[in-house]
């Protein structure tokens, strides 16, 4: 039985690397090395498929679902919403570079003027509000459908999230997201890292735990459990509930920082959203 030696920096969340100011890129490389060692037979891009990278029985069912996945309905509905102009005649395409097509890999980014992390879904609502429309709910429904369409147009693009070293706000937001990932919470007293780093690939009841690497690439997701498309922010709230911690609001500062950290860790992996999960 191969003994799994966890780099101390990954368990305790201490910064990896030789210098005191080691940052996101060192973290990402440490993750890639850790998971490549732990799952030597899994090609790097496969981590973007979560537990299906190493759970063969679940993978077969996922492949069957992917043959004609229910999220196709969400993509179509999302496209229709995306292409419908606002009351003032403008449209979503006016708010995004490249008309909003094939841009998801650049999100989240840190808005230095506003001093906050901007996720794609936050940007969608900013666009609506800037054009006199009511904001949409962040977990399910119309916004998730628009996000599904935009994710679909971005498939194949490599995640390319930036944490500029010369922007202290961005660096701090990334650090806060990372801190959140490693902080124990809830009555079960688990951190995200407890399951997804220490126990990745192992079974929690009947589920195999996915790796941190690749967690952010496939959103939004049609979960069979939800029977509809839902966002990563919804999943954060759900995971927190499942360790009996109080879930935070979708698109709260903490969850946006968390998405910033998680997305950076998946830099270099191809986006493959929207996805299907149990």
């Amino acid at each position: 039985m191969k003994k799994i030696i966890l780099p101390l920096c990954l368990i305790g969340g201490l910064l990896c690397g030789l210098t005191a100011m080691a940052g996101p890129e060192e973290d990402r490389l440490a993750m890639v090395e850790y998971y490549s060692d732990r799952f030597p037979d899994v090609p790097l891009q496969e981590f973007a498929n979560g537990l299906y990278a190493f759970d063969t029985i679940a993978r077969e069912q996922w492949i069957e679902m992917e043959d004609f996945p229910p999220y196709e309905i969400a993509i179509e509905d999302g496209q229709a919403l995306f292409e419908t102009p606002f009351a003032n005649g403008k449209s979503y395409a006016d708010c995004f570079e490249n008309g909003g097509i094939g841009v998801k890999q650049n999100y989240p980014y840190f808005d230095t003027d506003a001093g906050e992390v901007v996720t794609l879904e936050l940007a969608i609502n900013h666009c609506r509000e800037a054009n006199g429309e009511e904001p949409l709910l962040y977990m399910i429904g119309a916004l998730a459908e628009i996000s599904a369409y935009m994710a679909y147009t971005s498939r194949g693009h490599e995640m390319a999230v930036k944490v500029p070293a010369d922007k202290p706000g961005a660096v701090a937001a990334y650090a806060a997201g990372k801190q959140f990932y490693y902080t124990r919470r809830g009555q079960l007293n688990f951190a995200c890292s407890s399951c997804h780093i220490q126990s990745a690939g192992l079974k929690l009841r009947a589920d195999r735990l996915s790796t941190t690497l690749g967690q952010a690439t496939h959103w939004p997701v049609y979960r069979s459990k939800w029977g509809e498309i839902g966002t990563l922010q919804k999943r954060f709230a759900e995971c927190n509930s499942q360790v009996w911690a109080k879930p935070l609001e979708a698109q709260s500062v903490e969850y946006r920082n968390l998405e910033y950290f998680l997305s950076y860790i998946s830099n270099g992996l191809e986006l493959n959203g929207p996805g299907s999960r149990r």
Partner: protein, 104 residues
């Protein structure tokens, strides 16, 4: 009117393979609404009819245990390019949806 059916039809040698995704709640009538403490009313597809050039080739009867947003796949012998495949569902509330594709 029910939501539109998505169909993928592919001629494979001497038969045509039809795959369809049908947006529908498929509410069993057993699931409880926590807000009202009453079950969500049953609302599910009861039958599905497939036609080739206007002639019924298959009729499916479904109950509440077919999954939400049902997927179905079946194959029709001897269907060729130019043939029309029609798929229609009816549900227990009298709703229906129909989609036609011409095989290529």
């Amino acid at each position: 009117m029910g939501k539109p059916i998505k169909i993928r039809a592919k001629i494979k040698g001497d038969f045509a393979e039809i795959k369809a995704l049908m947006p529908h709640d498929m509410e069993s009538g057993l699931r409880m609404n926590p807000a009202t403490n009453q079950p969500y009313p049953a609302h599910y597809i009861t039958d599905v009819v497939a036609e080739l050039n206007g002639e019924v080739v298959m009729t499916a009867y479904w109950g509440q245990a077919v999954s939400k947003n049902p997927y179905v796949s079946f194959s029709i012998k001897g269907a060729v390019a130019g043939d029309t495949v029609t798929l229609r569902w009816n549900d227990n509330k009298g709703d229906s949806s129909e989609k036609e594709v011409v095989l290529k």
